[in-house]
């Protein structure tokens, strides 16, 4: 981000590492041998469906939950058994958790008062951070008078004013409506870059994660399935779960035998020594399928449904030549290029390298 005013602090943030964390609640294993690391100044998304353990992981980091096993390292120090009070982490809660009995100023000043700062030091600091979240002048407001987006900003200012070494965000946008969500997302990214604060961002929304993160960690059932840049995660999903969870995807069953892939009644040559043998699941993104004139392409299909989204048009195609049943594929085409109607016969093509192959049985 371009201009940075002279008085904007850059927080002296640090890196974080979780080592082999286990955590169970009763019989339920929530985290299993969880290890991850976040670099200094990085915005890292912990992405996964609800109940995958991401909030528990966050609470292990901020000290509200003690892990059964494993270590939490922050900036080279083992903080596994440090109380949350002494960790100096900034946290934005899903419900914002603003103090309903305090006004905006007192909410933001709360952490500084606990640090026994003098009034004369607190005042400019609070002002600085309220300005940062663009809510200067709101000091005397009661929190329940504010809109959801404003409450969110106050929660952010309150977490940042203590100049934490690490910022934790738990589903920060889930209580906002769609339009505000995009604005707030950009706002969070702007502030995070400006302060250069190491950030862990928990979300179940893959679009949000892809658009904001430096790096994404996809979590499922207490385990991290894949770590990578948004592009890597989207274009090279490591597991079937990741392929399915991030973006739209078509799944097809196929068989690999001695270098050949059998798929939809066709035979494809695979680069040697790659991939599993036997039954496989192939995944391909809708925008990686090519709609061609009837007669050309690898496969022949019929348009069963056309859904108009504006920027893109999604076709639902039935591939007719398969032995037992029709294979249904979703295809996305840029809006201006889409010209096919319901019932049209079309050709279908794709590049073999866009096919992600996972071992396994049925789709």
């Amino acid at each position: 981000m371009g201009t940075q005013s002279a008085d904007t602090p850059r927080l002296s943030s640090v890196d974080l590492e979780l080592r082999h964390i286990d955590k169970s609640f009763g019989d339920v294993e929530v985290l299993r041998d969880l290890s991850l690391n976040v670099d200094k100044g990085e915005l890292c998304c912990l992405l996964g469906p609800s109940g995958c353990g991401k909030t528990t992981a966050l609470n292990v980091i901020n000290g509200l939950i003690e892990p059964d096993r494993g270590e939490v390292w922050l900036g080279g120090n083992d903080i596994t058994h440090l109380s949350p009070q002494r960790r100096n982490l900034g946290m934005v809660f899903q419900s914002y958790a603003l103090f309903p009995h305090l006004n905006v100023y007192d909410n933001v000043a709360y952490g500084l008062r606990r640090r026994r700062w003098s009034r004369s030091r607190i005042q400019p600091k609070v002002k600085q951070y309220l300005d940062l979240v663009r809510l200067g002048g709101y000091e005397e407001r009661r929190v329940h008078e504010l809109s959801g987006g404003q409450q969110q900003r106050i929660a952010l200012a309150r977490a940042l004013v203590i100049e934490p070494t690490l910022l934790l965000l738990d589903e920060p946008l889930s209580n906002l409506d769609a339009r505000l969500r995009a604005d707030m997302r950009d706002e969070i990214r702007r502030i995070q870059r400006m302060l250069d604060v190491t950030t862990i961002y928990v979300t179940h929304d893959q679009e949000e994660a892809i658009s904001i993160a430096d790096r994404i960690m996809v979590m499922n059932q207490g385990v991290i399935e894949q770590v990578g840049s948004p592009r890597e995660i989207y274009e090279r999903p490591a597991t079937r779960f990741v392929a399915d969870f991030i973006g739209q995807v078509n799944f097809l069953t196929g068989v690999i035998s001695s270098g050949w892939l059998w798929l939809m009644g066709r035979q494809f040559s695979l680069p040697t020594g790659e991939g599993p043998e036997g039954k496989v699941i192939c995944a391909i993104r809708p925008e990686r399928l090519r709609v061609e004139e009837s007669g050309s392409g690898l496969l022949q299909a019929q348009v069963e449904e056309v859904t108009y989204f504006g920027s893109v048009v999604r076709y639902r195609l039935a591939v007719k030549e398969v032995v037992d049943t029709d294979v249904i594929l979703n295809v996305e085409v840029a809006g201006p290029l889409a010209s096919h109607q319901l019932g049209d016969r079309v050709g279908l093509g794709f590049e073999l390298e866009d096919l992600h192959i996972f071992p396994g049985g049925n789709t």
Binding site: G63, L64, F93, A97, F99, G111, A159, I162
Partner: protein, 550 residues
């Protein structure tokens, strides 16, 4: 068609006028009449004659004391039960709600049994004789009794505090003590203030405990009872009640303001089990000891009532006997049947009428609906003695000659429970999606059939719970009922009260065992229902209201 809209509200308004406004006004008029003329003579007497003037101060001081002590106790038990992991928490919470089935005047029985002149502990164990009949005993029993109210109110507010808010404080560097001081306690402050005011109100209105345990100490309520029953000085009884009413209305006004602000700062409801606060050891030890002491006392009281009913002669002969239970089938049978019938009718009528009024004031626009709301709620603030005296004055001559009939008993119990019925009705209707009723109307249903086919079935869990509470409350009430009852339609609670007042401790204990059983059945039914889904949310809500309405 316009007149039809006003038909039902008008009927309800007239009923409230007759059974709430008219008796209250009768008391005020009586207090101002001296013989045939109007004058302030009674008030001058009340404020200048030492025997009355001292009761005003006495009532205020004991009520303030009971309010502060039971609120502190309620807060301590709530904190221990919901904010620590100390042992015996379940035991403490059971002990805290147990007084619900033991009305204050029954506790006095156990108190005399244990600590009285010939008490089991004071006389038999310690060999001391002392005069227990003083304001201190009244304060003691009221504090124990009203801690149920404070515990329920404070814990309800405490459970409503979003645990993430406390976590946020920890995260920002607040120590556990600071979390409690700067977040938890300020957030539950509306509950604490509400509890204080409510106990003050209940203590002011309680005439049983001071009458039995006060000795020469009198409160406004107990003095008005003695003036009426003892010396039949109707004028002075009315005056004392009028003064009492003024104080109660002022307190009630503050209480409704606290309730209103409390609901404006809406806290997250049902945030799950609150997180404990890891306080320093000495503090935790203190909290826990207080809870243990309180719980032991409550259970001792329950056990003593039980023992007293099997003890031959208190103070002289502590041997076992079943003799007292002979009274149950003899003199008690009629009262038991009356109690069951009255309590059942009351709970049924109160929950239905409560829902109807709630429907009127929340769903239908008509002039005067705020007035109907106010008049229905008012008995919540009216002391039982005032209503009793008012009913005697209002209904022992034409046009409403009802004295001595069972109808007047039902009227008084229904009117006293109606505020609870209205509140739970308003609250259940507030939760119901109005568009369901609109849907019913758009499908061609009339208002009436929408009410019976849509509104009532959807409100059933809340109705059942509040009806059961009204049953429990009516079984135990002496408040206003004692003034309108006559020998042909006696009820259990009044029998027990009179037996205690006479000093027939054994008989009283035997009868109260039956009464405890009835109340306990009601409470158990409530808890059994509360295990089943929807009703659960209503239990706490009604519980807190019930405790305050009793």
């Amino acid at each position: 068609m316009r007149w039809q809209k006003y038909l039902l509200p008008s009927v309800i308004f007239l009923v409230l006028l007759v059974f709430v406004v008219y008796p209250t006004l009768s008391v005020l008029v009586k207090s101002l009449s001296v013989g045939e003329r109007i004058g302030l003579d009674n008030y001058i007497d009340a404020f200048t004659k030492p025997q009355f003037a001292s009761t005003i101060w006495g009532s205020l001081l004991v009520a303030a004391g009971a309010a502060v002590l039971s609120t502190v106790l309620g807060l301590i038990i709530s904190l221990t039960v919901f904010k620590t992991t100390l042992p015996l928490r379940r035991f403490f919470s059971v002990a805290a709600v147990l007084p619900m089935i033991i009305p204050g005047f029954v506790s006095t029985l156990a108190y005399i049994f244990l600590f009285g002149r010939n008490g089991l502990i004071t006389y038999k164990l310690l060999g001391v004789t002392w005069d227990i009949y003083s304001w201190k005993s009244v304060l003691f029993i009221q504090t124990l009794d009203f801690t149920t109210i404070t515990f329920l109110i404070i814990s309800a507010v405490m459970l409503g505090v979003d645990r993430q808010v406390e976590d946020a404080a920890r995260n920002l560097g607040a120590s556990e003590w600071e979390v409690m001081k700067t977040v938890t306690l300020p957030l539950i402050r509306p509950g604490i203030i509400g509890a204080l005011l409510l106990v003050f109100l209940r203590s002011m209105a309680d005439f049983g405990t001071p009458l039995i345990l006060g000795g020469r100490f009198d409160t406004l309520a107990s003095a008005s009872y003695s003036q009426l029953i003892g010396t039949y000085n109707m004028g002075m009884a009315s005056t004392l009640n009028a003064i009492l009413l003024l104080i109660c209305l002022v307190v009630f006004w503050f209480y409704s303001r606290v309730q209103a602000t409390g609901s404006r700062v809406r806290l997250q409801v049902e945030s799950g089990q609150p997180r404990e606060i890891d306080l320093k050891r000495p503090l935790k030890a203190t909290l826990w000891s207080v809870c243990l002491l309180f719980s032991s006392l409550v259970f001792m009281i329950l056990v003593s009532v039980f023992l007293a009913s099997f003890t031959r002669h208190l103070g002289a002969d502590f041997s076992f006997t079943l003799e007292h239970f002979r009274i149950v089938p003899q003199r008690g049978w009629n009262s038991i049947m009356n109690t069951i019938v009255f309590a059942s009718i009351t709970s049924l009528v109160m929950s239905l009428v409560g829902l109807v009024i709630a429907y009127l004031v929340t769903r239908i626009q008509f002039k005067g609906r705020n007035l109907i709301d106010l008049l229905t709620t008012l008995p919540f603030a009216l002391p039982g003695t005032l209503m009793g005296v008012g009913y005697i004055l209002a209904f022992n001559h034409a046009p409403f000659l009802l004295t001595g009939t069972w109808a007047i008993v039902i009227a008084v119990t229904v009117i006293r429970e109606l505020p609870l019925g209205l509140r739970s009705g308003v609250s259940v209707l507030g939760q119901q999606d109005r568009s369901i009723e609109d849907a019913s109307a758009s499908l061609g249903a009339s208002r009436l059939s929408t009410f019976f086919r849509i509104v009532m079935p959807l409100s059933r869990p809340a109705l059942v719970v509040s009806a059961l509470y009204a049953f429990v409350a009516t079984v135990q009430t002496v408040g206003a009922i004692i003034f309108v009852i006559n020998p042909s339609n006696k009820v259990l609670s009044v029998d027990v009260f009179e037996a205690i007042y006479r000093g027939d401790v054994g008989d009283a204990a035997a009868l109260s065992m039956v009464m405890l059983l009835l109340a306990a059945l009601g409470v158990l039914a409530i808890f059994a229902i509360s295990q089943r889904g929807v009703a659960q949310t209503w239990v706490h809500r009604v519980l807190t209201h019930h405790a305050s309405a009793q």
